[in-house]
Symmetry: C2
Subunit: 201 residues, 2 copies
Amino acid sequence: MSRKVSGPEIERVVQLLARLPGLGPRSARKAALTLLKRRNELLLPLSEALATAAEKVVACSVCGNLDTVSPCSLCQDPRRDRSLIVVVEEIGDLWALERAGVVGGLYHVLGGHLSPLDGVGPDQLNIAGLIERARTDEVTEILLALNATVEGQSTAHYLTEQLAGADVVVSRLAQGVPIGGELDYLDEGTLAAAIKSRRRL
Amino acid sequence: MSRKVSGPEIERVVQLLARLPGLGPRSARKAALTLLKRRNELLLPLSEALATAAEKVVACSVCGNLDTVSPCSLCQDPRRDRSLIVVVEEIGDLWALERAGVVGGLYHVLGGHLSPLDGVGPDQLNIAGLIERARTDEVTEILLALNATVEGQSTAHYLTEQLAGADVVVSRLAQGVPIGGELDYLDEGTLAAAIKSRRRL
């Protein structure tokens, strides 16, 4: 990457693409070439789609989701159960749950997990907003749908403490064998959780 | 991907990003989220860089390289040896050679390799332009820097035949053990080529 071989305009596209997750310098160059070779079908549409998104998409002031309106269309949806707030780390997690269509309630996006080593404390996450929402009368349950990682679980632990004062049930996702999972390939922690939380048939 | 959970503006960005090489639906969503979360540092600059590239970047009428001028800055560079034309399949190959800084001559980008099964014959590649350039007096050598794949080598074979009438030396890249290569991990074809083309010390 030391020699700039393709002019500043192309180089700029490559450099910006290389900052996306999943694209290194090499795949960013490949992506840039694909864009340049497909100017009308891909390059111009993507440029315009990004400009439109930059202009219209905003963070929801209530839950932190991204949408063109704030409060977002999920928060505004009258069919949703307003007594349940599902707390997720990232918007990608919210999207995953929505794709699965398994949440009837509202969401709250923390914007990450607690990670003192990376300088992420409670003030860097959208926790104050969650506490405030939990204190409203209509909310009766807070489901902590955080990642089953050390960071996710310690964040869940912290939130449970913070929510102790609010009159809500705090719950977490079930842990156990994933659908399609083969016992032989699962880690000991998962197997232990699956045994401990076994269900009577 | 069946349920659209994030509004048409975001969904459009995801869909376009998913058409780039190296990005599937999942990584395209991750990339879109990164863009949206970093609106000013990444989303807007990328949108503008793509628009600029779409407006300014053109294919070089001589060699097929992409640049903001045609003939491109490589073709116009007076320091380059105009007697040597290095033929590559794709612009990415040209970039790789330029990054290595190992070519003193000019380039010619074919735009792919012969692949009858995919409907890519001689007319789909920039071969006529190469023959024309080879016939000019100043060109004395055509170096076929094509991929060491079956398609690349059969394209090289075809070009060698086509260039027989022109008064030029046709050469190809050396084949052998790559720098840092361990014999134990190399295929038989490479080892055979390295033995056959061995050099006296």
